[in-house]
């Protein structure tokens, strides 16, 4: 393993065959009542299987918009997004989203039925196997006791865990996480981050994670894409982030390096 490195351009070019998700020179524009805004300009990156790929940047760098485009909720005005070689045309259960908002759970369904909802509707599983799968993943996020509760009785951290369980239970090609811990208090956020890493250790799923916290990016990711704002452009890619350890201070140094790069 090499030490964490930040190279000038998106280095570490992957062979196109190995990539799970391929985003190539994507430009995203959306219209507000008064102007057409360019959220990202010619952004390229590719995510390999079992990557924990983080999109990091200050607000206005289009990272959430980029994630929505991968989710299929927006169409790029330039460039292409392919997942396992298939072009992304619209939202689909092969790319499960976890949102920042607590209201992403269906309030009229219990935790168990929330997790079962996409399994039944998108994967067309029968109720019995959907329930077995849902219970398995609810146990994985440690919410077995809350399985029959309605979302409004849960804390923010528990709601986000349910959303993660719902996404993982679908066993999608890639899990898309849009600042899922940003609305949590600091202590809960840390626990949730640790749990996410532990889940990843067990199942090695692929995740595309959006955040504006440098520390969170270093903790969660093994690769980080740094974006600069107005419009969003790729500034650098950080690879082998795993090797940065909080104990010997290398994570702290990397954090400072990234900070200087983003706010130079």
């Amino acid at each position: 393993m090499t030490s964490p490195a930040t190279d000038g351009r998106s280095g570490n070019e992957q062979s196109a065959g190995g990539a799970l998700l391929d985003v190539s020179s994507v430009t995203l524009r959306y219209k507000t009542p008064s102007a057409a805004v360019t959220a990202t300009e010619r952004v390229s990156f590719s995510v390999n299987p079992a990557d924990r790929f983080v999109l990091l940047g200050p607000s206005g760098c289009g990272k959430s918009t980029l994630l929505k485009a991968v989710g299929g909720y927006m169409h790029p005005s330039e460039g292409s997004i392919t997942i396992k070689g298939r072009p992304v045309k619209g939202p689909g259960p092969d790319r499960m989203m976890v949102f920042q908002e607590f209201d992403q759970l269906l309030p009229w369904k219990t935790v168990l039925h929330n997790v079962m909802f996409p399994l039944i509707n998108a994967r067309k599983l029968d109720r019995k196997s959907a329930e077995a799968k849902a219970r398995h993943y609810i146990e994985k996020v440690g919410l077995t006791r809350a399985a029959d509760s309605y979302p409004h009785t849960l804390s923010g951290g528990m709601k986000q865990r349910v959303a993660i369980a719902r996404g993982m239970a679908m066993e999608p090609d890639i899990l898309l996480m849009d600042e899922p811990f940003a609305a949590l208090d600091a202590l809960t956020r840390r626990t949730c981050q640790d749990e996410l890493l532990q889940l990843w250790d067990e199942t090695r799923f692929t995740v595309l994670f959006v955040t504006h916290s440098i520390a969170e990016a270093i903790k969660i990711g093994n690769r980080i894409l740094l974006l600069s704002p107005h419009p969003g452009r790729v500034k650098a890619e950080v690879v082998d982030v795993d090797t940065a350890s909080p104990t010997d201070g290398s994570a702290g140094r990397l954090e400072k390096e990234i900070h200087d790069l983003l706010f130079a």
Binding site: G71, M97, L106, P107, W108, P118
Partner: protein, 284 residues
């Protein structure tokens, strides 16, 4: 300067003052909304009885006991239940058709822009038009019969229900919409599995308003033209007895209208609320 350190406290094992205490029976009773409302009704009943006795003029204002006796007699001889049933049948017919139409219109409106424009224009034009004002026209079109009544009932329930449902649909959060599309839901599936439950608080309040509107419209319409196919409804019962100057019976009729309203509000809608929006934490 000493370094930072943690000093552990021994947890106090002394007996705590009572952390929880059973409520006495009158505190429990006061907590129940039903008991409090019953108390209000009892006080109003006492005032009614007292004023009726003080006035001592059954032609103007019968006492509560006279009204209740009239109600009891009319229920026993079967005339009041038959009239109430006749009203409710017509009412339900209009209500169900109206709600179904409102549902269809709103689903069209949420899926197409033209449908949405149509709904907005129609509601803006027809919602302020009192249903009873359409009655003369309805009588020409559908004749003296339940057809005319059902027509104006549909008019009175359709617009408020459609308006509430539509604004409920539009208020469904972007996140929930995205969650629905992420689960591959499209078309009617999306409407029934995401939009309707998510908008249920507004839909329910639309249904309640619609119910009150139809009930009022029906009684008013029966007062105006009353009898159809040999037996009229509650409105006609009230009108008839006023003509006979049997005022206790008029009051008994009015009381029946109120009672049915209370029963539907407290049994049907309250139960529906408890089982849905309250349980889901969407309303307290």
């Amino acid at each position: 300067m000493s370094s930072a350190r943690i000093i552990l406290r021994a947890t106090a094992e002394t007996a705590a003052p009572e952390a929880e205490r059973k409520l006495t029976w009158y505190e429990l009773a006061w907590e129940s909304g039903f008991v409090r409302k019953l108390l209000i009704i009892l006080i109003l009943a006492v005032i009614w009885e007292a004023y009726g006795r003080y006035l001592d003029n059954p032609l103007l204002f019968p006492t509560l006991s006279e009204t209740l006796r009239a109600l009891y007699d009319r229920v026993l001889d079967g005339s009041l239940p038959a009239r109430a049933w006749a009203s409710i049948q017509v009412l339900l017919m209009g209500y169900v058709i109206g709600v179904a139409l409102a549902g269809t219109l709103t689903i069209l409106a949420i899926n197409t822009r033209l449908g949405s424009d149509f709904l907005e224009t129609m509601t803006a034009m027809l919602s302020p038009l009192p249903a009873i004002a359409l009655l003369p026209l309805a009588l020409i079109w559908f004749g003296l019969g339940n057809g005319s009544l059902v027509f104006i009932l549909i008019h009175s329930v359709l617009w408020p229900v459609a308006l509430n449902t539509h604004s409920g649909f539009r208020g469904v959060s972007q996140t929930l919409r995205m969650v629905g599309r992420n689960s591959d839901l499209r078309g009617l599936n999306y409407v029934f599995k995401i939009l309707i439950p998510a908008a249920f608080p507004s839909i329910l309040s639309g249904l309640k308003i619609g119910w009150a509107f139809t009930w009022r419209t029906l009684i008013a319409a029966e007062l105006v033209f009353g009898v159809s196919s040999g037996k009229g409804g509650l409105g006609w019962f009230i009108f008839e007895n006023r003509n006979l100057l049997d005022i206790p019976n008029v009051f008994a009729g009015l009381l029946t209208v109120i009672l049915i309203g209370l029963v539907v509000e407290n049994l049907v809608f309250r139960t529906l609320e408890r089982r849905t929006v309250v349980r889901w934490g969407m309303q307290n």
